[in-house]
Symmetry: C2
Subunit: 381 residues, 2 copies
């Protein structure tokens, strides 16, 4: 695999020519990525640097995932910030396990080293913090866009905030990273890692940033905003959300997620192939086929899915349709059911019903539908 393949989709690979030198060392490189296991959802955007790591793993290099458990375990010791609650060790382990379930849909577990940074940060004393903080200037850290803007706007930046990028840099020292991966928003943090490694007498890491990805709402995909497609979630959800992407984003998703060129022709076909890819990566080919079928029948063609629940035929004749909808289809109330009926949203065997009381014979073996997604079936008499 060429350097061009290893750095596919990268935004920055710095400094120029250094990755080539690292590759010439002829040993497995240590390719670091700091992960946030406390993120509520691990999504396609998080997958992009993982895909890069996988590219290195395919060439025999080692992926090093850093779990930032130290800050999670300490939280905000002053208790002043609700954003940094203290997280119990077992909870961190549980969150990490969930993260790895997602990450290993992309990575090769045997070539992945997982490290918790409490391993080294818990041993750092004040003297070591001084040593660490002596390596970097305030101006260098304030170069970061987010800090620079806040500083210029005279917003409060606490001194502690300067320490977080330095902790991340210290992680690079501890694991002796050859390469550090991260989103473009991490560029300055990764470069700080270089400064600090050099100050600690190590060969500085190569910095490789990957793009963030936009979601269907035109903003960056984010686990906390609800506009995400998770790396691992219900196949039908993954499929349905992918199909919601606007056509203009297809080229980006092909390039970043599938690492393919967008084929010419029908965008719908391309989108279906993307959705299958995403489900297949998470759940395998069978799940992808089922999700595609489900989408085609239920969402697209409005047909019943294959696994519609059955309910026994009602004892009354005629049967009271609103009561049946409440009992078997999860409609909230009989008055809501009446409204759905009056809107033509309730169908028996695909045909809208307008009556409230239905002769039982019409229900025998019938598929009953409320809205687009709720289905049930009655047995034949």
């Amino acid at each position: 695999m060429s350097v061009a393949d290893l750095t596919r989709n990268a935004v920055d690979v710095l400094p120029k020519g250094e990755l080539e030198k690292k590759l010439e060392l002829g040993r497995p490189l240590r390719v670091k990525l700091g992960i946030d296991v406390t993120a509520p959802h691990i999504h396609l955007g998080n997958g992009i640097p993982l895909q890069r790591m996988r590219g290195f793993q395919d060439e025999g290099h080692t992926g090093v995932l850093i779990v930032g458990d130290y800050t999670a375990r300490i939280g905000d010791p002053s208790g002043a910030s609700a954003e940094r609650p203290i997280i119990a060790p077992e909870e961190i382990d549980r969150m990490a396990a969930r993260f790895f379930e997602s990450a290993y849909t992309i990575l090769i577990p045997e070539r992945t080293e997982v490290r918790f940074n409490g391993e080294w940060l818990a041993k750092v004393d004040f003297a070591e913090v001084l040593r660490l903080t002596r390596t970097v200037t305030i101006a260098r850290i304030l170069e970061r866009d987010d800090f620079a803007n806040r500083f210029a706007a005279q917003q409060a930046i606490s001194v502690s905030e300067l320490l977080y990028p330095l902790m991340q840099a210290y992680d690079s020292v501890a694991v002796e990273a050859d390469v550090e991966l991260g989103g473009t928003d991490q560029l300055y943090n990764l470069l700080t890692g270089r400064d600090v490694m050099e100050a600690y007498g190590l060969e500085p890491q190569v910095v490789l940033t990957t793009p963030l990805i936009d979601s269907w709402d035109g903003t960056k995909m984010s686990g906390s905003k609800g506009n995400y497609i998770a790396l691992v979630e219900d196949p039908n959800e993954q499929f349905g959300k992918t199909m919601r992407l606007p056509d203009e984003l297809l080229e980006t998703y092909y390039r970043l997620v599938m690492e393919l060129e967008l084929p010419e022709g029908d965008p719908m076909a391309a989108k279906l192939a993307l959705a299958r890819f995403i489900v297949e990566r998470a759940h395998g080919p069978e799940a992808a086929t089922k999700a595609a079928d489900h989408f085609t029948r239920v969402v697209r063609e409005g047909e019943a899915p294959a696994d519609v629940p059955e309910a026994p035929l009602p004892p009354d004749d005629p049967a009271h349709l609103p009561a049946l909808l409440v009992e078997h289809l999860g409609v909230g109330s009989t008055s809501e059911a009446r409204r759905l009926i009056s809107q033509g949203a309730v169908k028996i065997n695909g045909e809208a019903v307008t009556e409230i009381d239905v002769p039982r014979v019409r229900l025998e073996g019938a598929l009953v539908q409320a809205g687009k997604r709720r289905f049930m079936r009655f047995p034949a008499a």
Copy 2:
């Protein structure tokens, strides 16, 4: 003693009215002063906040001296800065002892608590540093003139430099200071102590700054510049240096050092009284009298001091004067002695000598002088 007495010569006492409230607590206040035991000389300028502490001690309060041994012991762990060598614990103890010898010419030892900040700083881990640094904003620390100027001039300020004022502030937390004393150059550090104490749930300290003092060369007195009068050094040195002060500084020295008004009349008499005060504080009244006598006779009137060393009469007659000057008066060589003689700088009983060979009878019981300061006496025959 009134608040006005306790705050005599203070530049800032902040916040207004808070010292009065502290005094109303009716218990001994803890009056903190951070000291630099690594300073090469402890001088009158260093004495000014000590005098303030003594004022509090006279009212039954406790002086708390903080020795910053922690940073001294760790030095600059990167070894990059020659300014921060690692200092061995025994050496710190030796330096501290020397400091206290000076400080106790002013303080009451029984009301002085000495604390080494390694006691608490050695226990601080990264989590505690984060807690500490979360209490203060970058902007707040950069308000300090020295930082503000360097930042504006785009000079490098390392992140570690922001931590030093926070360490000092943490000292205030550790000793639960009620008042912190310091020179005017310490104002922001002392105020930072207030912020941090408050964040740690303590009643913030009152901040009391004292003026720096100018020396005879018109610049701030400094132990590293050679323009200092040490709190403890040779009495004749103290006396002579004090007499070197220009008359314009007398009012300042009376006010800051003696805490008196400059008396009207002869400035020379006032200066002699100041010099006596400084020697007496360090060495007692007898030493002050001797230093005054020495100054009057030797320096001012060119007379021999009282304690001239004796040397035995030479065996030869006539005696070789240059050899005697080398042997007993510390003249560097016989040729230098010849030069001094030719310049009329060698006197026997106050009269210049021009001969190289001197009849022994002239030396019996005689006072021999080379230049203004070197004297010896021969016994009577």
